[in-house]
């Protein structure tokens, strides 16, 4: 609605939302004239706005019709995977010299958010590829590794990240998967669990310990191609939510990997994992944000149409207060997420803010989806409406890529340091 004021500046164009959303966006050229003050957090460059609109349109037209079926069948449609690559959504930050889009981290965040509004499973596929796999490869890869993998990651190959095991989730460094050195190659043995996108991945970034005596300082990152002998994809988990995203065990039985397939340095894997997960959690925050917003966007119109006791249920103050409360939480989550992303882009410290954004967005997604079902009443509880899927999908947000408790502990640790001086 236009009850919200739009700031009009001659060089910018105002874009009002198609459907009610809690965010108003203004496209602004990156170099705003001096003296205009600091633009609000929800200010995008022209490309960022164009990309967001392009993905929004694509998600509505090409992904939305398949969402229900993919959820039922626990399977990502080939057509979706193909079109994600075709549109350049799988290589957003990969440089154009490797066939990628050559855009920024913030663009990835916007893309993930838009995809999540329609299907959080599709969003997580895009998120893992961009924020975990591509980032690791681009930052740590040798020229040879980058030339071999980046073009494929940008155009047709999905990557999976193998860290967790049955016995090590939050306590990631307690991993048991070992890599034994023999001359110029390593033999990897072990079992990874909860590996997203494993069903379709062509390459796996595997964290294994190459020097158990050194404890976690032996953990090393290996690039393992899918067709390597001894690598076996286990059964797909039958999950509550994010069902279209495949989650499998991946087993390594004497998998031979040449030392030139080590990403970065031996024994530095733990550092790389932590470093990259810091950015990754902003991506998850974006996913949870989009999920919550998408759910909200479906529920509120219903409350404005549904009549009981002679008026719209939206007109009851009790409901208005709940809706306004949720909208406020959504806005706060959005600003936390966007700010964390901008901080990262600016090269400033962002770990605390990234943890806060992931933790908060996941909590807001849980709150929002739960409330939306209530607002929709009986129909919210049926599979005929998309709401219940958002409710099921959101739960993993407080669990994966660092549980809420881990996020809070990290924030506390950083606060402790801040107050140390």
């Amino acid at each position: 609605t236009d009850a919200n004021l739009q700031l009009y500046r001659p060089w910018a164009s105002c874009q009002a939302p198609l459907r009610p959303t809690s965010s108003h966006t203004i496209a602004v050229e990156q170099s705003a004239p001096a003296g205009t003050g600091f633009p609000p957090l929800q200010t995008f460059t022209e490309e960022e706005a164009m990309m967001r609109d392009a993905v929004r349109k694509y998600a509505q037209e090409r992904v939305a019709p398949l969402v229900s079926e993919m959820d039922e069948n626990s399977s990502m449609a080939d057509e979706v995977i193909k079109s994600l690559f075709e549109l350049g959504l799988m290589g957003i930050e990969i440089s154009t010299e490797y066939g990628g889009t050559g855009s920024s981290f913030f663009s990835s965040v916007l893309v993930i958010e838009e995809l999540a509004k329609v299907d959080p499973s599709v969003a997580v596929l895009c998120d893992i590829q961009n924020t975990l796999i591509n980032t690791l490869m681009s930052n740590l890869g040798t020229e040879e590794q980058k030339a071999k993998y980046l073009p494929r990651l940008a155009t047709d190959m999905i990557g999976s990240f193998c860290l967790s095991e049955a016995g090590s989730g939050s306590d990631a460094f307690a991993m048991k998967t070992k890599a034994e050195k023999h001359k110029d190659y390593y033999i990897i043995n072990g079992s990874k669990m909860w590996i997203s996108s494993a069903e379709h991945a062509g390459v796996f970034l595997v964290l294994a310990n190459a020097d158990v005596s050194a404890g976690y300082r032996g953990i090393t990152c290996f690039i393992v191609d899918r067709d390597t002998e001894g690598l076996e994809i286990g059964k797909k988990e039958n999950k509550l939510g994010l069902r279209a995203s495949s989650t499998c065990a991946v087993n390594f039985d004497n998998v031979k990997v040449h030392e030139k397939n080590i990403l970065g340095k031996v024994g530095q894997g733990y550092k790389y994992a932590i470093g990259m997960l810091n950015g990754g959690r902003i991506g998850i925050a974006a996913q949870m944000l989009g999920l919550a917003q998408g759910c909200f966007d479906h529920a509120v119109p219903y409350t404005r149409q549904r009549m009981q006791f002679g008026k719209r249920i939206f007109d009851f103050q009790g409901l208005q207060h709940q809706i306004a409360y949720v909208a406020t939480q959504l806005e706060a989550a959005r600003l936390l997420t966007y700010n964390a992303a901008r901080l990262k882009e600016a090269g400033r410290p962002f770990v605390k803010e990234a943890c806060m954004s992931k933790y908060f967005a996941a909590e807001v997604a849980t709150l929002t989806t739960s409330k939306c079902i209530e607002w929709m009443g009986g129909v919210g509880f049926t599979k005929d409406y998309p709401i219940e899927k958002y409710y099921r999908d959101c739960k993993i947000g407080t669990i994966y890529e660092g549980t809420s408790n881990i996020q809070l502990s990290t924030v506390a640790k950083l606060l402790d340091q801040e107050y140390n001086s």
Binding site: Y8, C14, P17, M50, M51, A54, V55, G88, S107
Partner: protein, 254 residues
């Protein structure tokens, strides 16, 4: 073989937006409302880009008339594959009263200046539904026209155009240079891929003033009033045929 194609793209209120009339009935509310490229213009751009991909044309130039904001629309055309853009600066009162006659004069002048041999436009804009610009442009240039095109094929120095007409489909052959207007079934426009959006940043948009093209923007039309369509009234249920006839007579319908 046409060397250069001019494609006109118009910035209009997005098709999904609920239109509201301004309280003073002088027009519709545009401030803060989502705008996009006219859907028929998207189809026109797609056709031009396809011709380029088939190597039947060398360059696709996207043109739009309006204030600063139309540059977004030109950028979208560039992201779909157009090579460069021309922004014809029209703003304020001139923009409010800009219509097919002025736009066709601008396009005709540009076609001569750019030595274009093919102009592809959307058949009409979804805001004014005029369906005149293509036809007027062809007349001003004295070029043949293939309007309501649902298929376009290049045959040497001629164009075969299949047109959607009331009675069905009409196939015509016209000489180049020509004007074609795109109808709904001509093609399905591509999504701008993210890499192409990035590339579009580097493509050039030149600014031109209507005066530089020798075009007079004075409108011969004055909009007197804009109203919403009447609210749909509730119907009346009747029991018998006699009642029905009676009610129709009462309403003066028979």
């Amino acid at each position: 073989m046409a060397a250069r194609v001019l494609v006109g793209v118009k910035r209009v209120i997005d098709y999904a937006v609920k239109i509201r009339v301004k309280p003073d009935n002088t027009g519709v509310v545009t401030d803060g409302v989502k705008h996009s490229m006219n859907p028929f213009c998207e189809i026109a751009v797609e056709e031009a880009v396809r011709l380029k991909e088939k190597k039947l044309v060398k360059e696709v130039v996207a043109v739009s008339c309006g204030p600063q904001q139309v540059q977004e629309t030109i950028r979208t055309a560039l992201a779909m594959g157009a090579d460069r853009g021309i922004h014809v600066e029209v703003s304020g009162k001139d923009y409010d009263s800009l219509g097919p006659l002025q736009v066709s004069k601008i396009l005709a002048a540009l076609a001569k200046k750019e030595e274009a041999s093919l102009i592809i436009l959307g058949k009409q804009a979804i805001d004014d539904d005029c369906n005149q610009t293509g036809q007027m442009t062809a007349a001003l240039l004295d070029w043949p026209q293939g309007t309501f095109a649902s298929e376009v094929a290049v045959e040497g120095d001629k164009l075969k155009v299949i047109r959607e007409v009331d009675g069905g489909l009409e196939t015509i052959k016209i000489n180049l240079p020509a004007v074609v207007t795109a109808d709904l079934r001509l093609n399905t426009p591509r999504y701008a891929t993210l890499p192409n959006i990035m590339k579009a940043k580097k493509k050039k948009i030149t600014n031109v003033k209507p005066g530089d093209l020798g075009v007079d923007l004075t409108s011969r039309l004055e909009v007197l009033r804009v109203d919403e369509p009447p609210q749909r009234q509730a119907g009346v249920k009747v029991e018998t045929v006699e009642d029905l006839v009676g009610k129709l007579k009462e309403a003066g319908r028979i």
